[in-house]
Symmetry: C2
């Protein structure tokens, strides 16, 4: 990355124009009116704009240009870049469209090559540019007449969409959320989103980063960078296209369930970023971070309101975010009862009623703060109530800044409310404008980073050696899928428990195996031609005697004949009875790399889709998070007299993660069902597919 | 209900005041400045306000008063009401607080009695009053300085919360959503929400109704009225407290799962109202209805945007509402390609790019409208783009009104955008201000009322007679729970299929039963002391021979001894193997009456909570809706080579609905699992609990 994008020594606007309403005019106007440094205007037509000379080419300027802003027709860009390169430019922003987004990938590759040749870093093309609130420079063509701009501050923004970037600026401006730097990446031909993230991550004046993105083209690199940066400062992410359905050709459960959007969702969760679900949440969380509230010392949220209904709606919104209002302690209740009018019923939310002026708020809030019971204090003020003395309230609110407890204010309504909200913002408070925004702010405060940094375990070398043996033999036979006993051997090498048993190639072997295991046992057909054993009757449960085993072996052999399938033999295994089944899967995604999936299992796994995703390899802590995101979490908490061992399930997830990440030959792994027993877990079925 | 609340011949303001900032002053000011009819001011202090005489009591006025507005201290209200009653008042609004909400239930009962004695209908107490946009009258103490008020129009509002009612007025005012009538019910001591709903339902000038409520105190009556009114006009409902967790002491699945909030959610869905999830959605849907768009003739939504990112966010929001953007036909694609610039890629959403002026919108929209492919047209305009010529766009938007296709516009942003939005609203278009609002509007358009009005089936009299026999014998024995064979007999009387089998009281009977059924069979302990049979090992599956049956019988007998449980016998039944299980339950709710639950079943039913609720009795159409709201819907669509028979499941739901609604002696019914087989369903276990 180049600092020249944000702190250029000087800039040249190539395609400068005084034609009102044109993009060139917008850019020229914005740069001239914001940047204190030297600005050169360039346009092939020459002449002058506002008394400034317009050069015909960058090289005519006669001195080195640091940052070239290029807003000329796409076909002229290579030439302009060549010229700028010869004039010593370190960085260039190409605003023009007409590149890969319009089908002209070659032209885009060409300008990247020209830039690289000259050592120029290139932002865009097809972007709205950059803003630095401190330099200051506004190197965008955003219309200053149609929207607001944020004041100077500590939030940096990366946006894949230019127009949504503009909207983010507008909404930040309206809510007085301070901006450090903004960059729209457009087609990201050279400078990528992950580079900007890294750059903002290292920038001492950037205290939080907001990212809007849609495309997954930067894949694992972007996810890894998000993890890295959010270790150091909060990163808020809004992802467009989160609902994309799209699915894969699916021979395994994990493939059927791993729609790109769901996988990315899991990977984002795992990266520790703050995931906003709507633009409103995105802006609200940025506002919160921009006001730099203290960290809450505990989870408990206390709500004080002059509108009972708003208290109710806030509770609903908090609950949707997985947060709950605690009860006030008996002591705090008693104190509040003493200082508040008798008609106020003492609860959380604390409804002061529409008759409450600021003095009542003051008493209530003072008492709550003294109690030290609130992790977060949320003050709802509907100024529509006739008793509200807004001027006093604003003064009072100013006193709530700089406490050791974060305070959020909620004010909803039209013009008057909006003005009140902005006056409260000027006092340094984060102000939500809907219950949903308030809940998003509280959620962001309480979303603590996962405890410490547990690294995934090392790749086990012996397991890899064993795996290679199996994989090579399967490859030699030209197979794509491992047979069940092979897949289970692989799973065992990586520490997964499987039922006792083995492959029998004859009736006698089957009986001997069953005798050594102890009855009842299960018999499963083993054939490279039978993928979905249960669907064709290839699994026979509850064999209680050698006679049963003999019958079953014969039945499975005949089944193979009927389906014209090769018959490798029969897998004889102990019968494991379980009330609860999990499912673990893994997949090698072309963009996102190895990923792992976990959730409830069994025959309903695809129907319920109650699964979540992380990148592999992963740590036990991450695996425990996955359990908490699915119904497995409730099994672990205890359900109908049964409590699953979270650690055992988590270790199985970690092991499947290692299996996929240390064996690049493996495309997909399906462990389903994973029997969840009292104090252990067992992989009842394992399917492994190799890469082609 | 009395029309005097909204169209009084004259009004008396009791507690009139000129003390700025007091509630009495707010009310006096609002009434005087809105109502064209005669207004009498009353205050015990007498004197004059703004040159008007202030009477000391209503009876001093000397002529009959139609509507008394009472804003005096709560303890004076009975006397004021007496006096107003003697002066002939037909209706009274009591704004004052200090009644049941503050613990003074007696005082509230008292004023209701006084009102009834005089034939006065009473609204409140503890409310903000009423507004009629047409009379006009603003009989509230809402501050006109702090908020906006809606223009005259066709929407009527009922709000349980006064302050949220004010906010609704403010937000409707800001968005120019026309108001017919507004009423805040407060404690609803006399006039109930359901009465206002009915009244607005019958009002020809009310074209749609909005309801905000929290408390369930009006129970089934409110739900029934919502169903009734929404047959005639759209009713939009926002419910506060929708996330209340609360649960019941649970001996059955249905009791464990029927948290009040979930039940109400199901009943609201079943009532045909438009359920808003947030205040923003509530207002957006009201705006849509207020603009009176035509009904869409098909589902397909086409989105035209000048911001690709906004198109993506809108798609995400639509998907969250269960709506999907269709593809454009090849023909439409070709036509759009002809009229649009080459850089526009032809898709849905159709991204015209930030460079699009109104002329390009015009071409695109004209072509789409001509194609007749759009059920709803959603036009996104981010005016921040420099190419946008807003004046032309406003003119163009005016032409989109009065077409036979509903058009929604989305404009997000600060001041400039808000002003643009309101100018578009003045052209008669519904304008969303976030993607979520746009999606709510589209959803409201496409949420067609359930087809026709299928009535629930009649209560079967013979079944009732049979049920009574069973119930009476159970009662005689002082039992609360039916034994499984009794519960199944009851279920069969109501048309549910159960496995073949019966109760065996001896080993010989058991073997004889098993022989007649055919092997394999299942044996289940029958004992009034064993409620959760499987949890204690009281169910033995897969008995393949008389010997197995003998063993099982003995085992179950010993089990009873071990648990010191009475041993009635053993239920011997055919073994039904199924891959998929549903669950149906029913419950008699003290407020909401008989309700029915359905969803995925089996051991995980409570863990997954994948269930939905309706009132009982219900029709097959409603039962089919329930199936669609749970994962059963995917089983019915076909899953892994299996397709459940929706009709059979729906009939079972209807039958359980009849069972609970025609037998008031029954408190709870649990049919779980209901085996879902290829062409039938069978209740594998039925539990019935009687009322105490």
């Amino acid at each position: 990355m180049s600092t020249a994008f944000f702190e250029p020594r000087n800039v040249a606007v190539v395609g400068a124009s005084d034609k009102r309403g044109s993009l060139g005019w917008g850019l020229t106007f914005n740069v001239l009116s914001s940047f204190p440094g030297k600005v050169y205007l360039v346009n092939v037509k020459g002449g002058s704009i506002e008394g400034r000379i317009v050069y015909r080419r960058v090289s005519d300027i006669g001195e080195p240009v640091d940052l070239a802003l290029i807003i000329t027709p796409s076909n002229t860009v290579p030439e302009v870049l060549e010229d700028a390169g010869e004039a010593g430019a370190r960085a260039a922003i190409v605003y023009s469209s007409g590149f890969s987004e319009a089908g002209f990938k070659n032209l885009e590759d060409h300008i990247v090559n020209v830039a690289r040749k000259h050592g120029i870093r290139l932002l865009g093309p097809n972007c709205v540019g950059v803003i630095d609130g401190w330099t200051p420079i506004n190197a965008t063509f955003i219309s200053m007449e149609r929207q607001k701009m944020p004041p100077r501050g500590s939030i940096s923004i990366v946006s894949q969409s230019g127009a949504l970037g503009s909207l983010i600026m507008d909404l930040m401006g309206e809510r007085l959320i301070g901006l450090r730097r903004f960059a729209s990446v457009g087609n990201a031909a050279d400078v990528k989103m992950w580079e900007l993230l890294e750059f903002f991550g290292e920038d001492p004046l950037t205290e939080a980063v907001g990212l809007y993105f849609e495309s997954l083209s930067e894949g694992r690199k972007l996810i890894d960078k998000l993890s890295e940066v959010s270790e150091r400062k909060p990163v808020v992410v809004l992802r467009g296209g989160a609902s994309e359905s799209g699915s894969r050709a699916a021979s395994t459960h994990v493939a059927a369930l791993s729609a790109p959007a769901r996988v990315v969702e899991g990977l984002l969760k795992g990266s520790g970023v703050l995931r906003a679900e709507t633009m409103s949440e995105f802006i609200a969380i940025l506002e919160l971070l921009g006001r730099k509230p203290p960290r809450p010392s505990k989870d408990n949220v206390i709500v004080v309101t002059n509108t009972g209904g708003m208290g109710v709606l806030v509770s609903d919104s908090l609950e949707l975010k997985g947060l709950k209002l605690g009860r006030l302690s008996g002591g705090l209740e008693a104190k509040l009862r003493r200082v508040l009018p008798p008609y106020v019923s003492i609860n959380n939310p604390l409804d002061l009623s529409g008759g409450a002026p600021t003095s009542i708020y003051r008493e209530a809030v003072k008492t709550i703060l003294e109690s030290q019971e609130a992790g977060v204090l949320l003050v709802v003020n509907q100024p529509q109530t006739i008793a509200m003395d807004s001027e006093n309230f604003i003064e009072f609110a100013g006193e709530l800044r700089g406490l050791n407890i974060p305070v959020i204010v909620l004010v909803e309504g039209s013009g008057y409310s909006r003005e009140l909200a902005n006056r409260l913002r000027l006092k340094g408070l984060p102000v939500a404008s809907t219950p949903e925004e308030a809940a998003a702010m509280v959620w962001a405060l309480s979303a603590s980073r996962r405890g410490g940094l547990e690294r995934p375990p090392e790749h086990p070398l012996e397991a890899r050696a064993e795996a290679l043996k199996v994989i090579e033999s399967v490859r030699r036979e030209g197979r794509e899928f491992l047979l069940e006993h092979e897949a289970k051997a692989l799973a065992r090498a990586y520490g997964l428990e499987t039922p006792r048993g083995g492959l029998a190639s004859s009736v006698n072997e089957a009986v001997a195996l069953a005798d050594s295991i102890g009855y009842p046992v299960v018999a499963k057909i083993v054939s490279p031609d039978v993928l979905h054993k249960s669907d064709v009757g290839g699994v026979i449960l509850g064999l209680r005697s050698p006679e049963d085993v003999i019958d079953a072996y014969e039945k499975l052999r005949r089944l193979a004949v009927r389906f014209k399938a090769r018959f490798t033999g029969v897998l004889i295994e102990e019968m494991v009875s379980t009330r609860f089944e999990a499912s673990i899967g893994a997949l090698r995604d072309p963009l996102l790399g190895p990923i792992v999936m976990a959730g409830l299992g069994g025959v309903l796994v695809e129907l319920l889709g109650d699964v979540t995703f992380r990148k592999a390899p992963l740590s036990v802590v991450e695996a425990l998070e996955m359990i908490g995101e699915t119904s497995l979490g409730r099994l672990v908490e205890g359900y109908r007299g049964f409590r699953a061992d979270a650690r055992k399930i988590a270790e199985a997830i970690v092991n499947v993660g290692l299996l996929i990440s240390s064996n690049p030959e493996i495309a997909e792994v399906d462990v389903n069902p994973l029997a969840v027993l009292d104090d252990e877990v067992k992989a009842l079925d394992v399917r492994v597919k190799l890469t082609c």
